[in-house]
């Protein structure tokens, strides 16, 4: 389709193959965890046995927040963040900004309070720097782990972020070179995988999935590498040339001129009224609220909303904190609507697929899994073509182990979480569960004979998946009847998803077993 010289085709094919081979396994882990992380919110709710209350931001919370504000040191009222965790407990972070002697940076420091959304009882109260008080909530361990694995590959910051950013660039190049080297993209778009030889069928499968997934592979890779590099490299560099280090001018251009300082005391207007007005203006209830300068005349309340029905973009509404009056819709960048800000706001929804509830998430999960399929079939194709060379022959088990071992490790992480929830440090045991699952897969992959390797790994995955709901419930997680009673059908849905996946892999393993038995019988008969 695209005319290329022979030499260029050869070069592009080499880049496509080698980049895929060198980075493919890491790319697979990032893409697979990304596909799982699309459901991070749902995993969070499932892992804690359901939400105590639906739409918690729609209930009255002004009095609770006000009462608790009276209990924290005055300097912690400089900024207050209000949101809800997976269990729908209200999380309040009353904080100021001071230099952390450990990092040398200005960081959030204050009091974090977890509140039961039904009884309004204080469940936990911690004081410290943001990085110390957040991330210790036992209920958030599993979904945070999945997201951290996807974003950082468990590597320390910022190296993990750079690594996944580079993998995003590799994926983008794989998609683009794939497009360029595949001469008959449209002509072959409906070509069902041929059965004339395993290699031909494998190639057809890889090309077919790659063709139909091309656009989204590009979009997901592009937006992913944007997230990795924008904060760490892009913004600081561009700020230097655009503003020459002038912080004030930068803040005025990007965020708008700050409100004139007025520290005179003034009570905060009714939060519930602001929440209600903001929800009706934005078309969805707020999911994050920030109050700046609580109790002062210059108080500002910012409310963040998910995209309303039919739209891709969320919004941020601003209210005057002391009068409670609506002040306007704030851009993500700059003070008035612009093409730049609008495009920037699309990056998140396009990467996370979280713009239209469960439906868009399901499509995004499937797209992610399709990318996994392309990555693994590409790797297998490369290795099978080189089976005559000892080095590449030795690499084939690695692909099987990573392809099935990563989901085994993820499911084991969930086991680690459930077994420790309410008993031990969930963050530690989720990580240990992941490492344990990975270790078991590696040992199985090496110890089991090649003919049985895939079958053994599939059976392990089926077994660990099938056990998850039982382990969750046996450790005190809500039963299906309880979940249904509290309106948490999602918990049942996630359990069913685990059982269905388990069945699928069990069927794969059984079929593989009977296929290899038939092959052995045929060989014996011929002999």
């Amino acid at each position: 389709m695209i005319a290329l010289s022979q030499e260029n085709t050869r070069r592009l094919l080499a880049v496509h193959g080698w980049s895929g081979t060198v980075f493919g396994l890491f790319l697979y882990v990032v893409v697979l965890t990304g596909a799982v992380a699309v459901l991070a919110h749902e995993i969070g709710i499932w892992s804690v046995g359901g939400e105590k209350l639906h739409a918690p931001m729609e209930r009255p919370l002004d009095k609770t927040v006000r009462d608790l504000a009276a209990t924290v040191p005055e300097e912690h009222l400089e900024e207050v963040s209000i949101f809800h965790n997976s269990a729908a407990d209200m999380v309040l972070f009353f904080h100021t900004h001071i230099i952390n002697p450990e990092s040398g940076n200005i960081e959030d420091f204050g009091t974090l309070i977890n509140v039961d959304p039904v009884s309004n009882d204080v469940l936990a109260r911690r004081e410290g720097f943001g990085r110390d008080v957040f991330g210790v909530d036992p209920g958030g361990a599993l979904d945070e782990f999945v997201v951290d694995l996807h974003v950082n590959l468990l590597a320390p910051s910022p190296w993990g972020l750079y690594a996944t950013g580079i993998l995003g660039l590799v994926m983008m190049i794989a998609a683009l070179t794939g497009l360029l080297i595949h001469r008959h993209l449209i002509k072959d778009a409906f070509l069902a995988p041929r059965s004339g030889g395993a290699l031909l069928g494998r190639k057809d499968r890889h090309v077919l999935a790659g063709t139909w997934g091309l656009l989204f592979a590009f979009i997901l890779a592009f937006t992913g590498s944007f997230f990795s590099f924008a904060g760490a490299i892009g913004i600081p560099l561009v700020a230097v040339t655009a503003f020459g280090g002038d912080q004030t001018s930068m803040m005025e251009t990007l965020v708008g001129a700050p409100k004139a300082d007025d520290p005179s005391p003034a009570p905060l207007a009714d939060l519930d009224a602001m929440l209600a007005e903001s929800a009706s203006r934005a078309g969805s209830s707020a999911d994050f609220v920030v109050v700046s300068h609580w109790g002062r005349a210059d108080a500002v309340v910012q409310l963040f909303h998910a995209p309303p029905e039919g739209s891709l973009r969320g919004s941020k509404l601003v209210f005057n904190g002391s009068s409670g009056e609506f002040e306007g819709v704030k851009q993500q960048l700059g003070t008035q609507p612009s093409a730049g800000a609008a495009t920037l706001e699309l990056v998140g929804p396009l990467h996370f697929g979280n713009f239209a509830g469960f439906l868009s998430k399901v499509v995004w999960v499937c797209l992610g899994l399709a990318m996994c399929y392309v990555t693994i079939t590409g790797l297998q194709l490369w290795l099978e073509r080189r089976q005559q060379e000892p080095f590449w022959r030795r690499m084939l088990p690695t692909v099987d182990i990573v392809a099935l071992g990563t989901p085994v490790a993820l499911v084991s992480a969930a086991h680690g979480f459930f077994l420790s929830y309410g008993v031990a440090d969930t963050h530690l045991w989720t990580l240990l569960g992941f490492c344990g699952g990975a270790l078991v897969s590696i040992v199985l992959g090496i110890a089991v004979p090649a003919a049985q390797r895939l079958r053994a790994l599939e059976a392990t995955l089926a077994g660990t998946l099938a056990l998850l709901p039982a382990v969750r419930m046996s450790m005190g997680g809500s039963s299906w009847a309880e979940a249904l009673g509290s309106g948490n059908a999602l918990v049942i849905g996630m359990d069913v998803l685990m059982l269905l996946s388990a069945t699928t892999y069990a069927v794969f393993a059984l079929r593989r077993g009977s296929a290899s038995r038939r092959r052995t019988e045929m060989v014996e008969a011929t002999a």
Partner: protein, 109 residues
Amino acid sequence: MGSNVSTTESAEGSVIRGSLWARWLIAGPLTIVTAILVMAGAPTWLPEGPGGVDHIAFPILLFPAIWAGLFLYALMESRQWRSFTLMLALCVLNAIPVVSAIRHMTSAS
């Protein structure tokens, strides 16, 4: 495109086609440096737009695309001196505002 390759392969051969390591250097480190410098320098030549932020948003947003475009170009350009010269020119042109901004910053502080 096809005739182009046959001349390079037959007549001047490796001189025009260049060597593998030169392509690695151009498509690798030089492309990364160029992409970063283009992103950093772009705010000075991109229009600000009605909201006054387009010149900041688009370079950051398009960085992966800038890199990918330059990388593919470096990979496919048969005359390596051309890709080398173009990248170097982009580097220098975009480095001027970056260096002057940094000098301005250091002298101010």
